[in-house]
């Protein structure tokens, strides 16, 4: 089972406070698959993603993954003193990436604010910088929590292309979304 899936999670349950967010939930992600998580605010989309990422321990169930993942949460992970160039160089070093951070920043449309400190970047520029991390090293699984937040139409089109390219080359994406998915989802899971 796990040999032909990137993620196999079975019997997941999560409790927040006194409330059961979900229980006996099975989630799987195959190669080339785009899984969209849907549900109203507070339904547990973020919690599910955090469980799959290993950040939060599930109250029930197990998660098996075949391969490493990239994470994009609500917080972009950009330090207030870091410029997009420094941010991408930092993670390139940390992850042993051969990619050219500068080329990736340009690709993300960050050529102009390349040397602007994080605290002065707009929300969209920060999100583009964080998305640049996904291209530093090739990781089969992308876990994205509301990835289109703060992006302009250009940015949305760019991220849609990134997701399509990633899935065409064998990767898988799980994204929590509100509103219409700009890309064609393989499957939807409503919490």
């Amino acid at each position: 089972m796990s040999s032909n899936a990137l993620i196999t999670a079975t019997g997941l349950g999560a409790i927040r406070g006194e409330r059961v967010l979900f229980s006996a939930l099975d989630v799987s992600l195959g190669f080339n698959e785009k899984l969209v998580l849907r549900g109203p605010n507070g339904s547990g989309k973020s919690t599910l993603l955090r469980i799959l990422a290993g950040l939060t321990r599930p109250d029930a169930g197990t998660v098996e993954t075949a391969g490493t993942h990239h994470w994009l949460g609500h917080r972009n992970g950009i330090k207030s003193h870091e410029t997009p160039r420094q941010h991408l160089s930092h993670w390139a070093r940390a992850w042993g990436s051969d990619a050219d951070p500068e080329a990736i920043a340009s690709q993300m449309g960050l050529a102009r604010p390349m040397d602007v400190a994080g605290r002065l970047l707009s929300a969209g520029q920060k999100r583009r910088t964080a998305l640049g991390r996904l291209l530093l090293v090739d990781r089969p699984i992308w876990l994205l929590d509301e990835p289109f937040t703060a992006l302009d139409s250009d940015g949305r089109a760019m991220l849609t292309r990134m997701i399509d390219d990633h899935c065409q080359s064998g990767g898988g994406v799980i994204a929590a979304l509100h509103g219409d998915a700009p890309f064609e989802a393989s499957r939807e899971l409503t919490l």
């Binding site: 290993g54 994470w71 330090k79 070093r93 940390a94």
Partner: protein, 220 residues
Amino acid sequence: MNSPSPIRAAFRQAIGEAWAGGAGALLPIGFFAGAAMLVPFTIGSEASQLAAIGTGVLWVALALASLVSMERLFQADLEDGTLELWAQDETPLFLIASAKILAHWLISGLPLVVLTPVIGITLQVPAGQLVPAMLAYGLGGLAFFLWGGVAGALAASVPRGGLLIALLALPLFIPTAIFGALSVQTGLEGPNILFLSASTLFALAVAPIGASAALRLAVD
């Protein structure tokens, strides 16, 4: 992929962050000097009296100064999302926590040690006693920063957790303070300096594990 590059990157980022805070990295130094310099004004400037308490005053000032900027060490990482990324890295989180604490010590802790002879002289401590004492203050200061790091990690998710950090860390300082003070009083002769070294080594081994466990809770 067990290369040390994530650890190096974390160290480098922490150094950059310390400098980027403007004078923030220098705050502990100012606090250390200021706190120690108050003593002659409150105790009186009689040389023999000051000399008797001088080395102890330096220990108290060092312990308090090491906590001054501990609040932001992990809190900033938690708030901006960096901690989430480190927590998912293949590199064990305790190594990342160690790198961050050591970088912080290098910027804010080592200068305190360098400063001890200068302040010691103004407290009438004999100069001959001060230079060897730097070894003890260096070892003790490192232990203070390590325990402070655990407290900082525990308080990372607490808004305005500065006071909580002091309450958590100060009891952990006691063994270091005891053996540190005895070492300096006996001029680094005898077993006390060995006990001080042992307490610092213990902190080096245990504090990063404690800090990483606290950070995992904070990020959950």
